[in-house]
Structure formats: C-alpha cells, structure tokens
Amino acid sequence: MTVLRSREVAPPGMTLKTPAKGVDIGVFEPETPAKTLEGLNHQSTTSPLSLSPKAPCQDGKEGLAAGSVHRRSARLASKLDLTEGLETVKTFSRKRKRLDAGNDGSLGDGLNLATASTEKKDDVGIGVGDVMLEEPNKSDSLVDLGNSGQSSDAVESVKQGRRRRKFGIDVELSDLMLVGQGQNEKKVLNLRSGRRIMKSGGEKRSGDSSEGVESNDGDKFYTGNDSECMSSGCRGNGGVMNESKVIAEGDGYHSINNVKKVTGEEKGKSKVLEKASFMSGIDLLKLKSEVKEAGGNMVKTEKKVEARSTRRKDKGKEKLVESGSLSKSSCSVGRKSENKLEKENDDTVSSSSLLADSMSSQNAEQTDMSVTADRRVHKVRFREIARRNASRFAHFSSQEEEDNAADTSGREIPPSDINTETEDWPGPFSTAMKIIRDRQMNANVQRHNSLSDKRGVASVTWKPKKDRQCNLQKQLVPSLQDLCLTILVKNADAITSLDCIPDVLRRRLSQLLCDSRRMGDHFFGLLVQGSPTEIHLRDCSWLSEEIFTRTFEACDTSNLTVLQLDQCGRCLADYVLFGTLARASNCLPALTAASLRAAYRLSDVGLSALVSAAPSLRSINLSQCSLLTSDGIASLAASLGSVLRELYLDDCQGLEAKHILSALLEFEQLEVLSLAGMETVSDDFVSRFVSERGHKIKELVLADCMKLTDSSVRVIAEYCSELCAIDLSNLCNLTDTAIGYLANGCQAIQALKLCRNTFSDEAVAAYLETCGDTLRELSLSNVKQVAQNTAISLARLSRNLQYLDLSWCRNLTNEALGLIVDGCLSLKVLKLFGCSQVTDVFLLGHSNPEVRIIGLKMKPLLEHLEVPDLLRGPLHYSSVSPSL
C-alpha cells in the first residue's frame, strides 16, 4: 500500500529535513508536510495512513502543545520546508507538481515563495504520485485542475501549500504576525480579504473544476460547504483565520468521502495555532478548527473519490505549513522555507513553471470570484468578521459594505458595483453625520474642561415647566364616547341591534370586546346581521365551526367591503369556507380587503376558492397560514396579479422566499408587501423583487428576515422612491450604512420601525436630520445606542411625529426625553418600556398635554396594544374603487 510506503518514506525524509532546515522546532516540522502529502496521496483508507505520517508530526505537535506560537509556526514552517524540500518525499512530488502547476497558474503573481513552495511540493508529490496511482478518481480530479491523471493529492497539497505560501502569507500569517517574512508579511489579517478569499475558494469548489487552478479547487475542498476562501493564501489577506476556516469546512466536505479523520497532525496544528497569541480568540478558534479540518481533509483526500477533496486537504496542509512558516515566531523559519522553496524551484524548473501557472490562475480565479461560498461558512465567517469589525461599522466603511454585499448576496457582484457604493456617500446623510460628529467633537472639546459629564456627548438642556398642571387636566377627562363604550362592552349581550351604528364604532366595539374576551355568539350575530359593510373580528379563537357556519350562512354578503377574521384557525377550514364565504363564485362581490390571519387550516384550495368568490379583492392578509405553499401564492398571482395592492405573508411557514419570488413578481400593483418572519428571504430575493416592483411599493415589512444585509437596503433605497413605511426590526446585520441608504434614497418615509438593530446614535440622528420632517411613526425600540444626538434631532425636526417608541433605550436621560416630548408637538403616544432610568423629573415635568406615555408605572396591559387606525379605509394607501 502506498500508505505503508509513504509511511516509510516520510519519516526518514522528515527527520532528515529537520536538521537541514535549522528550524528551531526541529524534528517535527519536516514530518508534517510529508504526512500531509502522504495523507493526500492515500485516499479512503487513509485514516491509518494519515495517521501514520502524521504520527511523528503529531508527537511533535503535541509536544508543542505548550501553546507557543513559535512552536506552531515552527511546525508549520517545518512542514512547509518539508514540502519544499521534497527530497525525501519525492514520492509525492509528481502529484504535487501537477497540482502546483495548476496552482501556480492561478496564483499568478503570487509570492515567489509560494511558487517555490508549490514547486517543491510538486517534487514531493511526484515521487509519491507513482505510488499513489491507486486512485484514478483523484487523478481525474487532478485533471480537472489541469494536471495529468495522477492522483493529485500530493499535487493538491503542494499547490495548496504553494498558494498558501503566496497568499497564505497574508492570510494566515497576518494573524500569526509573521515577522520579517518578506512576502509573508504582506498583510495583517484582513477579515475582509479573508472573507473574499474564502469566497473565491468556495466558488471554485462549486464551480470550476476546469480551471487550471488546482489550488482553488483544493481550497474549495477544504472549505467543504463554505470553503470558498480556502484560497486564502491566494488572497493573501485573510490570514490564518481564513485558512483555518476553510480547512474546517473542508472537513465537512470531506465527510462525503467518508474520511473524517482529522489527522493528528492537523489537530496538533490546530492546537498550536490556537495557542498562537497573535490570533484573536475567534481567529484562533477558527484556525484551530480549520486546521483540524484540514488535517482531516488531508487524511481524507486519499480516500476521497474526488481528487478535489484531496487537493483541498493538501492545500489546507500547505496553508498550515505556510502559515506556520510565516508565523511570527519564525521569521527565520519562513525565510528558510522560502529559501528552500526557491532551492526547490531551481531543481524543478519545469514543475515550478507549471505550478506558477496554476498558482496564478488560482489567484486570478480567486480574485475574480465573487461570493458563492457556502452560505453556512459565509454566515459564520461573516458574523465573526462582523463581530470583529463592529467598531468599524460606524464609520461607513465602504469596504465593509462591499464585503457585506459580496458575502451575503449569494450572487456575483462585480467589483465595479461594489465600488460604486462609495460614490454615493457624499449625500445628505453623510453630511448630516459629519455635522453631528463635529458637534459632538466640539461638545467634547468644550466640556473637556468642565467636570460634569453626566449628560453624555451632546448636552441636552431641558427643564420642566412650572405651569404644567393645568394643561394636563384636559387629557385626563374620559370622553363620553369612551364612557359609553365601556358600558356597552360590559353589557354587550343586552345590545339588540347595531343597525344605525357606523362602521367605525362597530369596529371599535368589536375590538374592545375581543380584547376583553367578551366577544360571543350574540354580538357576532349582531355584527353579521343584515347586510353589513364591514366585519371586524380581531380574535375569532372563541368561534366554533358550527356557529361560524350558521351565522354566515344567513349573512347577506353582497355589501361586504372589509372582512377581518383574525385568529380564525379553529373555525375556518376549507370545507367551512365552501359552505359560507365561498359558497358561490361571486358571493363576495364588493370585498376589497380580507384578513385571515392565523387561518392555519386554510389550504391552497380554500384560498383559491375564496379568491374566486371575491373578484375585487385588493388586500389580503394571510399571515401565519401555515398550510399555504408557493402553489397557493402562484394561484393568487394568477387570479389577482394585476389588481392586488396589499399582500401580507408574515410567518407563513410553508413558504420559501425563492419559490414565491416568481409569483410575487407578477403582482403589478403591489403597494404593501409584508414578509416578516420569513427567514428564507435573502438579499438576492429582495433585490430581484425590488428592482422590478419596487417603484410602486409603499410599505415593506422585512422584520425578522435575518439574512438581510446592507445591500438589500441599498437596493430598496434605489428603487423604492415612494416608500412610506418600512419595518427593519431584528435585522442585526444592518449597519449604519443601511440607515444612510434609507436617508438618501427614500425621502417619503412616514413610518420607520427599527428594533434591535445595531445602529449608532449618530446614524439615527443623521437620519432624522435628513428625513425627520415627514416621519409620523418611529420605533427605536432596543436600538441601544440611541442617546443625546437622537434626542436633539427628534426635538428639533420631528414636528409631525405622532407615535414614538423608545423602549429599552437606556441611554436616554430624563432631560433628553423631556426635550423630545416638548419638541415633538404632534406626539400622541410615547412608549417607554424598559426605560428604568426615567423618573418623575420627566414624567411630571414635561409640558406636552397630548402625549400618552405608555410602558412605565404599571399601566393596564391593553393600553399599549396597537389600536388600528379606525379612520383608515380598507386599503392603506389607495382609495377603494367603486364596486364593479
């Protein structure tokens, strides 16, 4: 078995190498690369094999486990050197060469070192290649990479290593602080680049087998699902972390090939890596896992049917090696490895050229690749990176934006697109930001001498007015209407008829009854009696099928304009619908707006029956209808595509964004689209929908669509010029740039709902400065950073603001709130849940008579529930056209 052979070969080679290198680490290092190579070469049953070559290394690694980066790097370096040396491991050289050649091509300009290393690897691989010819598959994959049919394990590894060297220097080493490495020190760990690299790697994996860039492929393999950036080396930016990530992912990928072993070497590496003090915790972890993965990959590659995986492993190994070499502790080591590589190059001119080609090609590929990395990896990586770069977010880093856009869009964003974002920056929003920042700075400067700094950055001066009492009395008197309603609610069963009562009052009465759980059959019958124009039932959970059927059978629905049967799951099944509301094909001729929230027994069939019964339907709310599928939406689009104005599909668990996209695009007049809670909504979905239908959209609800990033908001701002209301709650990936886009792009926003977003105080304030005038409803609940700047902007510019939610904004002081309330003259409702910092200084000191403050001091629970605007028509943004 090759395994055996490699085993035999490797150790001596390794030991030999050690002294030659003169690396501090010594014995272990050389072994590592050999192991890697061997592991690569031996597929499938490699586990033993992988173990074997790695055994020596492992020991070394474990020995190194003391956690010194130095050691690790030394080990890696030795690995690198080993590969470079190749003399002893010549068995792999052939393979390596091929791989390297490919890698070289892709890498292109890569580091000389990398090239050299790859070349070396080739040498090593080739020797083994002969032996390794067991795996025709691998060789095939190699062919893909542009190599000959030899098993490409070695080649891959070599290539990868090479690539790593070239790029890895940047990528991994940056983390490890490769000191003194000429090439190595290219860059500090750049998360962004790392990401990119990852991406390209992933892309490769998914896509281009044909490329000559084996390294890319290999990278891809490593990353497994999200391994895009395996080619981190190529990028030279990512740093160790990227590689580790890739490797880790490669592991996942490798599982396909049954080989899940993480070679000891790999593990050891990871351990060492982790301990590297240079790496941030996250990076380290990632690197560690990745290393492990890589190790596993390496082992697996042998077993893998696809050569690609092997390549990945190899690459991972190579990367590790490279990173190791580059790691700070061993500048010299790195140098040496470089030197060695170069030596190797001399030895293998042809191979090196091949490798160079592959490397360059790889590089090229990687750079060109847009993100198509595995979502998973991307997400994870992105989050890590985002977490790390959180502090940068406030600075409108266009690069971040690019990264975000590139990462999460799931499709190619050519660099040019990304760059154009920066052009948009000098807009009103950024101006406002600048002003606020300057103001802040001035305030800071001024206050530098003053001792009191309680108020925060921008000073808010506000004092409660004295003559507050008289103003407030007015609002305390209960209105006659409310008094009557209270009595009616208590005695609902005594009501005999609702004949002359206008719809507004019926609706209010029904709402109060439902809220206090006093709604019953009797009142329901009264509501449905005669020929009603509107039926509003906020809560039908008490309603049974029998009563529903009986009542509606007797109902004359010819004038029914609005039907609201929320929470009707219990009573509204398909067959019930057929007997009542959909009993004839046109039995709801005037129905304009229908709300069937939580009709969890309503299926696609029932929906189409309802739609055929209501030809003039313009607004439909199907939130939480779990049985609906994309077929239902498609039939909805087929029948109402040209007329439907409002569509609410919150929390419909049977729907997936990409499947309903084509149906949604058919709605030509859509003004309101609500997709809250639909987690499958991605940036791609949003941009595709909005670019086609965005010009008419007036309200967009994208709460809880966690995948969305700034790029979605950018597209929305670009296309939805008439946007009146937008809900971006819980979108934690959004940064200040998103607010900037909104401010610059959507000038007509009247209702903005933000919740648990991570916007900074300055960004929100700048938004208000730019668009605060038109705002009527603003929710900043749990936008924790909101503070003085926002308060000042609100007070100054939000003249039309009626509903303001500042719950959980603990940075707002009494003074800030007082300023807001006294400044927002139209303010009717102010929600302050969770604002424990508010005291009576504000509550009793503000002088706005109209405002209701909800959320403090044990108010009745129902008071803060959103009361529907009773005076609103059935359609929120258009008038109802006369019935047909």
């Binding site: 009395q473 006659l480 009595i487 009616l488 009562i501 009052l505």
Partner: protein, 98 residues
C-alpha cells in the same frame, strides 16, 4: 352669566338647551362650529341645531359637558349613564367628537 357667554343647543324635537359657552366647547365639533371663521348662522346667533339627536340624548350630553368641567377642575365623580341610552349616546358623542 351674561348672554354672550351662553350657547343654545337645539335638539331634533325642538327643545332648546342653553348652556355655558365653556361647557359647549368641550365638544370639539361645537367648538369648531362656533369659532370657525366665516359667517355661519351658528357663529352669529350662537345656537346649533342637531336634527338627529333626540332630546333625552342631548340633555345627557349637556350634563356630560358640565361633568367634564367639574372633572377637569379636580372633582372626580362618576358619570352615570342609563344603559338604554348608551348606544345612542355613543353615536351622538362620536358625532360631537366628545
């Protein structure tokens, strides 16, 4: 209690209720009627006719006006409404925006 301070509200049956201007202003609708610019009969003669509000309801409404002033000045009592009047009273109150 000068004449200028009083306002006359006329019900559907023709009954006239003369009340304080301040009390009448509790109703936003009446306030707008009496203070709107332009030469409306209401403004000039200081009387408003309600053809769809019955006498009993209008009487109750006037009682509410005074109760409201009392409430605002600090004396918080309960305003009792006969149940049979409630529905109509609610509609009238809705109309009068009170």
């Amino acid at each position: 209690m000068k004449k200028e301070d009083m306002v006359k509200l006329i019900s559907a049956d023709g009954f006239e209720f003369v009340i304080d201007e301040k009390a009448a202003m509790v109703s936003q609708t009446i306030r707008n009627m009496l203070t709107s610019p332009g030469s409306f009969t209401e403004t000039q003669q200081r009387q408003v006719t309600f053809p769809d509000i019955s006498t009993t309801i209008l009487e109750k409404i006037c009682q509410y006006f005074y109760w409201s002033l009392q409430y605002a000045s600090g004396k918080e009592t309960e305003f009792h409404i006969e149940p049979e009047l409630t529905l109509e009273l609610m509609m009238a109150a809705n109309y009068l925006h009170t």
